[in-house]
Subunit: 174 residues, 2 copies
């Protein structure tokens, strides 16, 4: 009997959806959302809500909400086929665009609010001879600096195109 040294396509798809789902859930994107995204990423054609429901075994309500969320994240779009009433969904396939889009959302949800708080906390005044204040102030200042640097880096990444970005980065990092 012939052993399968390589994976079947169907098995591969399954594995990818599962892994992408797990990865997503460690990233603040919930598992189902990441799985639907994975499914659409590897689909050659747009899919209907119905197909998403079947392939992932999720309810209509869930599929609908999840697809809406993905659209809000800018990762998925609707498409209408002429003569049909059903909506079709497809994912942005350029993975660099996907990465930037995710970075953009996360910046908006995490980094920006944190910067706002750090600005406020930087304004807290006190006596440097007070150990409590000195320790607080130093931490806030340092974190603020790191956050601002991250912000600048993000901003640039969001504007850059893939080849330029990795070209510059990897040149330094080799």
């Amino acid at each position: 009997m012939l052993l399968h040294l390589t994976m079947e396509l169907a098995e591969g798809k399954q594995k990818f959806i599962e892994s992408w789902g797990r990865l997503g859930s460690e990233w603040g994107v919930n598992r189902t959302m990441a799985q639907v995204h994975a499914l659409l990423l590897i689909a050659p054609e747009p899919l209907t809500t119905e197909e998403v429901m079947e392939q992932l075994n999720i309810s209509r309500g869930n599929a609908n909400m999840t697809l809406r969320d993905l659209i809000n994240w800018g990762l998925v779009e609707k498409q209408h086929k002429p003569g049909e009433r059903k909506e079709y969904f497809f994912a942005e396939k350029d993975i660099w665009t996907v990465a930037r889009q995710v970075a953009r959302e996360r910046k908006k949800r995490e980094l920006d609010p944190m910067l706002k708080v750090l600005n406020e906390l930087s304004a807290v005044e006190g006596d440097q001879n007070d150990k409590e204040f000195a320790a607080f102030n130093k931490s806030i200042t340092d974190i603020h600096k790191l956050a601002r640097n991250s912000d600048k880096m993000m901003e640039t990444m969001l504007k850059a195109d893939e080849s330029w970005f990795w070209g510059s980065i990897l040149k330094i990092f080799k």
Copy 2:
């Protein structure tokens, strides 16, 4: 009546702990863990379990587990004071070291396993004329490339010291 234009220290601490907690929970670190970390970050002296419990209003069990987790993440260390039996805990204060430590953990938990899966999935064979296979293969290949680049970047960052890292990065990104 005089309005407070700047925040009180106590209020600032509170706000920082809260924000750091929220940020943490969007990062796969649970809220309590991030809050304990925040508390220790701004504390001028090491704290006991007891003090952590009081200041954050959490149970002994929770405090104990959380501190252990933080130690496992390499963010907190134990200290013994001579003549005392109690254990004191303090956080790594160098924020760049903290950032690298977090990056190291996340790489281990997320990027490395994903790279492993992508290697397997890259080995799936098929006919490029089969639309299903072609779409799958292209996505996997692209993601694999992105993941490998991220991996290289991480590796370098983990070795670099702060000034070198931001010096090089911000030079490009300005």
